[in-house]
């Protein structure tokens, strides 16, 4: 495919992102010798009943794209025309990503709940997997300090695994050269029997425990199931090493689930031999963003879909992804409502809403995942849910990313990021971009200065799909304004009296120009016309206030406008969590951000 051109000659590329609710297609093509984003279209996904074929929705989306670009891409039989013909029919390359496959059902097995099992749990968060059962010998903690599970008998553990009917069984336990007998007992008396009983429904087995036991474990299990051995997730009590296990789990997701996406044959026939997981390709794109924007700051992507919430961060060249398959705003809304207190959702609303009515509305949305909010009230309700979903996902990401456990709200803030990119229907299809910006600020509560962007055309996951083979397509498309710049957000750390000045903003080079004072507890937006683009602004914090350069120290930002503008967030960090502190002020904050 596309063999006639060199790697440096831009090709036309069609990329599909088959989600659980919406299938999106993006066309990238050469404009004056550079890759550029040309058009985007979408259609309802058809991965489920009554269609059970992802290619039907894909075909509808491509037909729409043909209308938009006024150029045929499919032939009369509905097959993608590739490579592109000299008269511009078809495309040179096709790639596909998907998040529509059912997540892996994972059973974790370890000695006791705690360190190793907790690490394995974190390893599952890197892809589309859900832990459906955790079996531990319980009893006295051997290597972990946490309270032991109420011990279950061997029979109960065997039956728990058997009833869970997992796609993947991940065994951990023991530091390298550490605990032996408990791990061997677990495998000999429980795992091996459970695997034997699962018969033809045998899961993939990963061993990521004490490295000294690899051959013994393999020998014990091999008789009933092949074992994939990877590095210990907890080689020492102090060191967590979840990378190899996470990669193996992701590979299993591909092998067990994504490969069998209904209708996937069409994607392969169109020239995409491998359909990559959307979270993986987003991760590729975020790595590039971290490199291209500001290598000293982490790049962060927030994608809120119907079935999943995905946070991807790259800091210092180290990528990290957290996928929560139980927190989406459509298909997963029911499980989301089981995990979030309704009061926590309602505190983000500027109006009163009866909790039962809110739950009724959200449950109806869960059963109509394609539907969109039609009134402002519903938009704000859905965005309130998104704030909580992102915060829950962040809670999982923070320990791996920032190396700290989340024990209080103070731990649930993120460092300055460049860029922070929002994706997903509820964030992208907003009446005012300010609403998306406010969701990011409320959910992530970034410190210092961060650039906020919106991925309106699903470019991160789609371009990430060609990042390995056609890196220029990713680089040139994103550089040429593929993402929508919302504006910079400068956040204030430190408390002051309400009404007192927290930050003064003034042009750095012109002392005569009027300055803008932002009071504590408020949010202030300098709209896109406030200054000429490129103007250097000096931000001077009040005493003891930190806006990224240290307490009381001024900082400079170059004014770059944005669809929202420069946001000075003087509400403090962390934001208050009680409804009576948040809800009455939401109206003011929304009014300001939507100016």
């Amino acid at each position: 495919m596309g063999e006639t051109r060199s790697e440096h000659q831009p090709e036309s590329i069609l990329i599909a992102d088959c989600g659980s609710t919406i299938t999106k297609v993006v066309l990238i093509d050469s404009v004056q010798g550079q890759y550029r984003f040309v058009a985007y279209a979408d259609a309802p996904s058809t991965v489920n009943d009554p269609w059970d074929d992802v290619s039907i929705g894909l075909m509808h989306a491509v037909r729409q794209l043909e209308t938009i670009v006024n150029r045929p891409l499919l032939d009369a039989d509905g097959h993608l025309q590739w490579p592109e013909t000299p008269d511009g029919v078809g495309v040179d390359r096709f790639a596909a990503v998907s998040s529509a496959a059912r997540p892996l059902r994972v059973v974790l097995a370890g000695i006791t709940p705690g360190i190793s099992v907790a690490s394995a749990q974190r390893a599952t968060l890197h892809t589309y997997a859900e832990v459906v059962e955790t079996v531990t010998l319980g009893g006295a903690a051997i290597e972990e300090d946490g309270p032991p599970d109420p011990p279950r008998t061997g029979d109960e553990l065997i039956n728990a695994i058997w009833h869970a009917s997992p796609d993947l069984l991940c065994i951990v336990g023991g530091t390298d050269d550490g605990a032996r007998e408990p791990v061997l007992n677990l495998v000999r008396d429980v795992i091996r029997v459970a695997l034997y009983l699962l018969g033809e429904e045998l899961p993939i087995v990963i061993y990521a425990g004490n490295a000294a036991l690899r051959s013994e474990i393999t020998e014990l299990i091999e008789e009933v199931a092949p074992v994939h051995v990877v590095d210990n997730v907890r080689p020492t009590p102090e060191v967590e090493n979840i990378g190899p296990a996470a990669e193996e789990i992701e590979l299993c997701f591909y092998e067990q689930q994504l490969k069998y996406l209904p209708g996937g044959d069409t994607l392969r026939a169109w020239g995409s031999p491998v359909v990559l997981p959307t979270a993986r390709t987003t991760d590729y794109a975020v790595r590039y963003c971290a490199h291209a924007w500001n290598p000293d700051k982490p790049a962060l992507s927030v994608d809120v879909g119907s079935a999943n919430v995905v946070l991807s961060v790259c800091q210092g060249g180290r990528p990290l992804t957290t996928v929560r398959t139980d927190l989406g705003i459509g298909y997963s809304l029911r499980s989301l409502l089981d995990r979030v207190e309704m009061a926590d959702i309602l505190r983000w609303l500027p109006f009163e809403l009866d909790p039962v009515e809110a739950r009724d509305r959200l449950l109806n949305k869960a059963f109509r995942p394609h539907s969109i909010a039609q009134t402002r009230e519903e938009v704000l309700l859905e965005q309130a849910v998104v704030r909580e979903a992102v915060r829950l996902t962040l809670r999982d990401l923070v320990p791996s990313w920032l190396g700290r456990d989340v024990t209080s709200l103070k731990d649930l803030v993120v460092p300055p990021c460049e860029p922070i990119i929002a994706g997903g229907g509820v964030l992208v299809h907003v009446p005012h971009h300010g609403l998306a910006a406010l969701v990011l600020l409320d959910a992530l509560q970034p410190l210092g200065s961060s650039g906020l962007y919106l991925d309106e055309y699903d470019l991160l996951p789609t371009l990430g799909a060609v990042a390995q083979e056609r890196p220029l397509a990713l680089v040139q498309t994103l550089r040429s304004g593929g993402l929508t710049y919302l504006g910079a957000a400068v956040s204030v750390v430190g408390r002051g009296r309400a009404g007192e000045t927290a930050v003064t903003v003034r042009p750095a080079e012109s002392r005569e120009a009027p300055s803008i004072e932002v009071a504590h507890g408020t949010l202030h937006v300098l709209p896109r016309q406030a200054f000429a683009l490129g103007t250097a602004l000096e931000l001077v914090p009040g005493r003891g206030i930190d806006i990224g350069a240290g307490p009381g120290k001024p900082t400079r930002v170059v004014y770059r406008g944005g669809t929202v503008g420069l946001i000075v967030d003087a509400r403090g960090r962390p934001l208050p969590d009680r409804a009576e502190q948040l809800s009455p002020r939401m109206d003011d904050w929304l009014s300001e951000i939507e100016r």
């Binding site: 659980s20 259609a43 309802p44 058809t46 489920n48 009943d49 009554p50 269609w51 039907i56 929705g57 509808h60 059912r102 997540p103 061997g154 029979d155 065997i158 039956n159 058997w162 009833h163 000999r188 008396d189 029997v193 034997y196 009983l197 079935a307 139980d326 298909y331 997963s332 029911r334 499980s335 039962v356 009515e357 739950r359 009724d360 509305r361 449950l363 109806n364 949305k365 059963f367 109509r368 394609h370 539907s371 969109i372 909010a373 039609q374 009134t375 402002r376 009230e377 519903e378 938009v379 299809h429 907003v430 009446p431 005012h432």
Partner: protein, 351 residues
């Protein structure tokens, strides 16, 4: 375009797959006309397992369990029955803790499968077998009236359709349910309250079809064991006239209620199937209808949630919603509110 669809139809040919949860034996053949209680397939389903430590029980190292077993692999064992024994004077015995089947013995351990449960998969719907699924079951072709709902709970069951609701607009009251409703599938009107749930349980009602339920009542409904289908979903919505009238017209008929809702990763609507005895096979339902002028649709989101109407026009370009978002959609003549613009994504075709 692809649109959401909801079937509320007085006569159609529908196809429903009936499968065992585990592999078993299929008992029907292609072309069979089956009654609703006919067994389509059967299987022995394991319910759980027990692992016994022979070495611990017999106080001896066991290299070859066969030396001690008094039962053979595959034998049925009773609860309390001796499975293995050592010694003659100082007797040590290994006793089965459950009724079941001895399925394996090795490395000093014995594995017993708890007595498998024999399950039979019933046709549930009267119809014709049009596809046999080896080891699992069959697909049935059924002539029926069909009412799909949005939410449901409980188990699938059959019963005579009865009505306790004078209309689809008023909530079902406890005093409207009596002993004559025992075992019936009851048309409940607008919504369900705590007292109606209690009365339904007291009078052994099998299932209730209502317009809506409040999420606050979910624990009570689930605890009651009632099968419930809500045609319009959660909240306080009347049952649509279309659904109410169709159900009322079939009062007295045997009705199959399948309240199963979608698992998180699939789409499955709860439904009421009223089998028809008709000489002429009604047309088959096929998904994929298009929205055209005159199409009957239901709006799915506020401010027009659950209102039904006909498509009046199809504007060429996108329009701005109250939320300020611009989207493609249709102008729909909705009952009580008149002509309004509704996004395509918020419409479902009623068929």
């Amino acid at each position: 375009m692809l649109y959401a669809e909801c079937f509320i139809t007085p006569a159609a040919t529908i196809y429903r797959k009936r499968v065992l949860p585990v592999p078993g034996q299929v008992l029907c053949g292609y072309g069979d006309q089956v009654a609703s209680d006919r067994a389509l397939a059967e299987a022995d389903m394991a319910m759980g397992y027990h692992l016994l430590d022979l070495e611990y029980e017999l106080h001896v190292e066991v290299d070859d369990p066969d030396r001690f077993l008094v039962k053979k692999i595959g034998d049925l064992v009773e609860q309390g029955e001796v499975i293995a024994r050592r010694g003659r004077i100082l007797l040590r015995e290994c006793i089965s803790p459950v009724k079941g089947r001895l399925i394996d013995a090795r490395r000093g351990k014995i594995l017993i499968e708890t007595m498998p449960e024999h399950v039979q998969l019933r046709a549930f719907y009267p119809g014709k077998v049009v596809n046999v699924i080896p080891e699992r079951g069959a697909t049935l072709e059924i002539a029926a009236a069909l009412v799909q709902g949005l939410w449901g709970t409980g188990r699938e069951l059959r019963g005579r359709l009865d009505s306790a609701a004078p209309n689809g607009q008023t909530p079902l009251r406890g005093e409207q349910i009596g002993v004559s409703h025992m075992g019936t599938v009851l048309i409940g009107g607008r919504s369900l309250g705590q007292r109606a749930i209690e009365a339904a349980v007291r009078n052994q009602v099998a299932a209730i079809i209502v317009g809506s339920v409040s999420s606050a009542l979910l624990p009570a409904i689930q605890e009651s064991g009632l099968s419930v289908v809500a045609t319009e979903g959660f909240g306080d919505w009347p049952m649509s006239d279309r659904a109410y009238q169709l159900l009322q017209a079939n009062v007295g008929h045997e009705t199959c209620i399948s309240p199963t809702i979608q698992p998180r990763w699939e789409v499955q609507r709860p439904e009421v199937v009223i089998p028809l005895t008709t000489e002429v096979q009604p047309p088959a339902l096929k998904a994929g209808a298009q929205i055209e002028i005159g199409t009957t649709v239901r709006a799915m989101r506020a401010p027009y949630e659950n209102l039904v109407g006909r498509v009046a026009s199809l504007p060429a370009g996108p329009r701005r919603l109250a939320s300020d978002v611009r989207v493609h959609g249709a102008v729909v003549d909705l009952q009580t509110v008149g002509r309004v613009f509704v996004p395509f994504t918020n419409l479902e075709i009623l068929r």
